[in-house]
Symmetry: C2
Subunit: 473 residues, 2 copies
Amino acid sequence: MAPKALDYESLNENVKKVQYAVRGELYLRASELQKEGKKIIFTNVGNPHALGQKPLTFPRQVVALCQAPFLLDDPNVGLLFPADAIARAKHYLSLTTGGLGIFLIHLSCAYSDSRGLPGVRKEVAEFIGRRDGYPSDPELIFLTDGASKGVMQILNCVIRGEGDGVLVPVPQYPLYSATISLLGGSLVPYYLEETANWGLDVNDLRQSVAQARSRGITVTELLTNLSCNVYCYQTEFLTLYYLQVRAMVIINPGNPTGQCLSVANLREILHFCYQENLVLLGDEVYQQNVYQDERPFISSRKVLMDMGLPFSKEIQLVSFHTVSKGYFGECGQRGGYFEMTNIPPKTVDEIYKIASISLSPNVPAQIFMGLMVNPLKPGDISYEQFVRESKGIIESLRRRARMMTDGFNSCRNVVCNFTEGAMYSFPQIRLPPKAIEAAKQAGKVPDVFYCLKLLEATGISTVPGSGFGQKEG
Amino acid sequence: MAPKALDYESLNENVKKVQYAVRGELYLRASELQKEGKKIIFTNVGNPHALGQKPLTFPRQVVALCQAPFLLDDPNVGLLFPADAIARAKHYLSLTTGGLGIFLIHLSCAYSDSRGLPGVRKEVAEFIGRRDGYPSDPELIFLTDGASKGVMQILNCVIRGEGDGVLVPVPQYPLYSATISLLGGSLVPYYLEETANWGLDVNDLRQSVAQARSRGITVTELLTNLSCNVYCYQTEFLTLYYLQVRAMVIINPGNPTGQCLSVANLREILHFCYQENLVLLGDEVYQQNVYQDERPFISSRKVLMDMGLPFSKEIQLVSFHTVSKGYFGECGQRGGYFEMTNIPPKTVDEIYKIASISLSPNVPAQIFMGLMVNPLKPGDISYEQFVRESKGIIESLRRRARMMTDGFNSCRNVVCNFTEGAMYSFPQIRLPPKAIEAAKQAGKVPDVFYCLKLLEATGISTVPGSGFGQKEG
């Protein structure tokens, strides 16, 4: 009998091709061990609170009140909630009286506008304006269920087929390889220079594009360029085809490499996008996670605006942010936004249409976003506590970043760049020939083999570098 | 200069082809009028709380406590929250100590398992077991950000290209036409018989499939078969091609037609899927919205199990549910689940992998799902209130269903089947020739024209039947 629609043999090939290392072999093995009662420390995703980071009190107070608005009518509410949390809750509840005409009490149990609550998008626009020194338009800001959903929506518009390429930094965060694969596009890798503190060499970029453009991508190239997981889902292209590179992804601060890009580097990148006619996707979810002062975070948008005409009006840019990282670390709420610069109105309408299919992003996370971009001000009752808590989180992350890299560099056969930002360290570990031999025996990539051993021995669950498409070694 | 990656001309065609009536011309015009200060009543999506349905108190109390777990340490917590809400909040907070090893305080600020919290999936499995009289396996239940996200994940696995067809009821909910279009598949319509209270004629089904199978779909066929929005995105197939029908969607209780399918009808449908080797997608999000007693809701899964071998072990079924409808009506939380029956483990792994790309469904909505499937029991402190509130909601919906259909049928040139379930009425309005003429003048489909006039005159925002792909007239 013919295979059924949901038998493995007859599934959509793009689904099967997806490789997702973050929840890959290591994660699954770790989960098994945990089921067997072993204590596991997961480091595979940036999951701040699972690693002991406490949520900020004030945002949780506000969202709790928005979830249970009837508390606002309770004479005792003041015993459990400070006045500024109550005021802010009323503010967000009132925002929903516009939009879809929802009554105060009904917030977050009604679909919002598919782009998110207009009032929250206004707060995001004001935050971006303050941050960059250039005004931002709420109509060009869409709220999403986490930044990853936004990335998927935009790539879905960009990728038309396997002939469309997207430049992705290697080592890279598997969200991009997985999404590009799922959408049937082609990943075009560019390398971050470990020896140059994960800086970005634009000449290397030009080469990657020229190579892809002129000759398309072939299996053999990918075999040499890429490590297994980015490569696997490409094996089917046995023939050369013309490849058009349409977009470039930068992750700043870097995941998994933790670097902050310099203004000069960002200008080079934008200039490159202008010349090559690429839309730039700026993954800036770690903009609050910066652990040194020499090189603060600067948004791609600010650098673009500073460049002036023609660039500031010509280069298409989509920037992504989230409530999951920084001192908020509210991963489980699934809140994010993307802002569009120089994207034509007709395209914005199309993206709105696609967002409408899943009706609306979840409303509580939209409120967390509002609280993140519109924080407490000096004088507010909860301000002291808010600052104390958020400072504590960033400083402890900063300490840990220092500890991690120092620790790695103090080990024999291990080198690691300092983690300037984000939440990850990406050490290079030189394995002795015997270990590599043993890995071959076990039929595993050496670093996967090492990580598995590390997991069994210590209960620390990591992600092998090959999972990020890093070069051998 | 060549168009940029995000210029309209160079977008993914599947994105452009998507037609989404629920937020289409009518909705946009209504939003404009609202901006101009006109009072608009939106009826375009089932948005219970926006239409005056109050959220249930108990679930909101529990989720508020989970959002602000520090309240549990406050001596005054008992003044604002009943003991059973506090106990239930502790229960859900404790569920997260398994899974990803999150500490009590960190709930909902950490990613959960990509399939959802194991403890909540267990509660869902128990609910399904009680409902159907057959045990259910939590490992085959995935929690999602609303049911629509689950539908998209499953269709993404089923649809490999435009040669893959999915049977969708007409009139239908645009989620399906939009998603199939976005994924580049082909919608194969089957008609619900308005004259037979929106029943499903399996002979008509056979014809639809035979037709599609043997000859593929052509533009002219679609022109005659379908109204504009389902048709538009197909216009590109100018040549015949072989079409393989792989899946069938049923919406029970019906959206937008409100019927409840009988056991006999469900048996016929399942038998048909068995013969035609189709996976059945059972959209059962309205299972709590039933307004008559003659024909209660019965799940596809129960009917399948009752059919016994070989069917109960052979037919692939995915069932969908949500917290957005019923007496919960928690649309804004975006919570849902799907349960897989007779889906091979290797496929379940693939679906898990795809779910992992967006990391995890939002955690608060997972708790709402737990609260919906595991409601309060007699004797619980809040039980009386819970029953009073939920009864009140369903009875008011029942009253309104009766009022609507009676009201429609009392109008000249309007007929409407009684709304047995769901949240919608689908009346047929016979327009006088002059109105149809005027519509032609305005270059609009007659019913779109009528709905626009209705909106301008009364502020009531509706969805034209053609938006659901209903036959002319």
